[in-house]
């Protein structure tokens, strides 16, 4: 069953075609990789899907069951509320807030009380706040961050910041999660740990995941299907094994002796 369909997506900056004519389909429950050389347009695809940019042309459709809804060009918060969450290539946490607050903010979407009742803190308000805290802590537990819930995000080590970003993205209860280089800056041990976590949350939250990553050990290990982008266009699409042996991908991206991992 389709969850996301991208059709003929194009984005140009001035004369530069960052993304050109990209079409892809992601089914519900899949874990799909998006790889390609630096500057191929991967992050731009994410930015288009999440509404950070509006496309020059093309459509992006998000499915709810059979029902498809175009989301291109909408504001990021709308798209998030439609069920798409993301992390950023350059970590963008709320650095001066606590770990707990980072997650709580992202739960805003599910908050049930009205604007006026938050002025007086009615009983309903209080139980709802408690729910938010409880659920946030549950979420942090998955990432082993519950013990640090009162620390400022900026004071976390890099790896934990990446984890927190994923936790925050999950807090909005997305159907589709976009991860932009989650393993960047991590050492192999940490990367291994990350892949475990990705597996776990995927099961737990019934997630569909689209993942950008340059660490092939991670990508090849966990992705079921991979799209390869080069100069803004899809040059290959297939299972990890197919991709590994694709000549075009090897010359453009992987290099001859990269697949020892």
């Amino acid at each position: 069953m389709k969850l996301l369909e991208v059709k003929k997506l194009t984005k140009s900056f001035g004369g530069l075609m960052a993304v050109s004519n990209v079409s892809m389909v992601i089914d519900k429950g899949e874990l799909v990789g998006l790889i390609g050389p630096n500057g191929a347009g991967k992050t731009t695809v994410f930015n288009l899907i999440t509404g950070m940019y509006s496309p020059s042309s093309g459509t992006i459709t998000l499915f709810d069951g059979e029902q498809g809804k175009p989301i291109q060009g909408q504001k990021p918060n709308k798209i998030c509320n439609a069920g798409v969450a993301r992390t950023f290539q350059n970590i963008r946490l709320f650095r001066d807030l606590t770990v707990l607050d980072n997650v709580r903010i992202a739960m805003h979407r599910s908050v049930k009380y009205r604007l006026l009742s938050c002025f007086v803190h009615s009983p309903g308000y209080r139980s709802e706040e408690q729910r938010i805290i409880d659920e946030s802590i549950e979420l942090l537990k998955i990432f082993n961050l519950d013990g640090k819930k009162d620390e400022l995000a900026r004071n976390l080590p890099y790896g934990e910041q990446r984890h927190l970003e994923i936790a925050r993205a999950l807090a909005s209860r997305p159907k589709l999660l976009l991860l932009d280089e989650p393993a960047a800056g991590m050492n192999p041990a940490e990367t291994a740990q990350l892949s475990e976590i990705i597996r776990k949350v995927r099961k737990l939250f019934n997630l569909t995941i689209l993942l950008i990553e340059h660490d092939m050990s991670l990508v090849m290990k966990i992705c079921e299907r991979i799209y390869v982008l080069d100069f803004g266009s899809v040059i290959a699409n297939g299972s990890p094994d197919e991709i590994k042996s694709n000549e075009r991908v090897i010359t453009a991206y992987l290099g001859e002796d990269a697949i020892d991992a």
Partner: protein, 234 residues
């Protein structure tokens, strides 16, 4: 060439570097590895003069440079590719590169170095009029390295140069590091990609929460079980 003795750095109450000593000999590639937050970046920033140490000495070619300004250190031949690239976003690629040669006056030398950088990173030539802030992550990394080379350094610090680069480029970058080194530049390399780093380096130091715990030749460390377990994912 570079000698660091008993370096102590504090951030407020955090004791980030706890009496670090290390040496880099002329012509070597030395790598500094360690987990996140171990203090690798802090070490580099201290050596290049962005952070003032509480105690300890740094000397270059036997001259104490602990109290020199960053500018004077650049003059003496230190160049630093900082963590997170730190390109000048609103300036074009070309302007960024020119700034790398800020302290140099030899127009011809600069021009030929510029050519060399473009040879190393052809994509930078294509993007030379684009503002650096809109480059992709990998492109920015190349720019940062290119910019550092423009000062024609004698010793180059690289802080996680492979971060966010495509596999092909990772190899490429390490090749470039090697060739830069071969053309006479001494290199101090901080890396998360420990296996590549150890492969490339002559010697290595392992940093853990602000102290150096192990040091040795690159090969030696690459074989060490401890290292394998902690840093090589083995």
């Amino acid at each position: 060439m570079l000698e660091i003795r008993e370096l102590n750095v504090y951030f407020g109450v955090i004791h980030a570097l706890k009496g670090i000593s290390l040496t880099v000999n002329d012509g070597e590639i030395v790598t500094l590895i360690g987990a996140n937050g171990a203090g690798k970046t802090t070490t580099l920033r201290t050596i290049s003069g962005l952070i003032k140490p509480k105690s300890g000495t740094i000397s270059l070619d036997g001259v104490d440079i602990t109290n020199l300004s960053a500018k004077e250190r650049v003059k003496l031949g230190i160049s630093h590719v900082p963590e997170g690239r730190r390109v000048f976003p609103a300036m074009t690629v070309l302007e960024n590169l020119e700034l790398g040669a800020y302290l140099r006056k030899d127009k011809q030398g600069i021009a030929s170095d510029l050519k060399k950088v473009y040879e190393h990173f052809p994509i930078l030539y294509d993007r030379r009029r684009q503002s650096a802030g809109t480059l992709s992550g990998g492109e920015q990394q190349m720019l940062a390295i290119g910019r550092a080379l423009m000062s024609r350094p004698r010793i180059l610090f690289l802080d996680e140069p492979s971060m966010g680069l495509a596999p092909l480029l990772v190899q490429e970058i390490f090749n470039i590091i090697k060739s830069i080194n071969e053309s006479g530049t001494t290199i101090l390399l901080v890396e998360q990609n420990a296996s590549m780093a150890l492969k490339t380096a002559d010697r290595a130091y392992v940093l853990e929460t602000g102290s150096i715990v192990i040091s040795g030749s690159g090969e030696e460390l690459a074989q060490s079980e401890e290292i394998k377990k902690a840093y090589l994912g083995g």
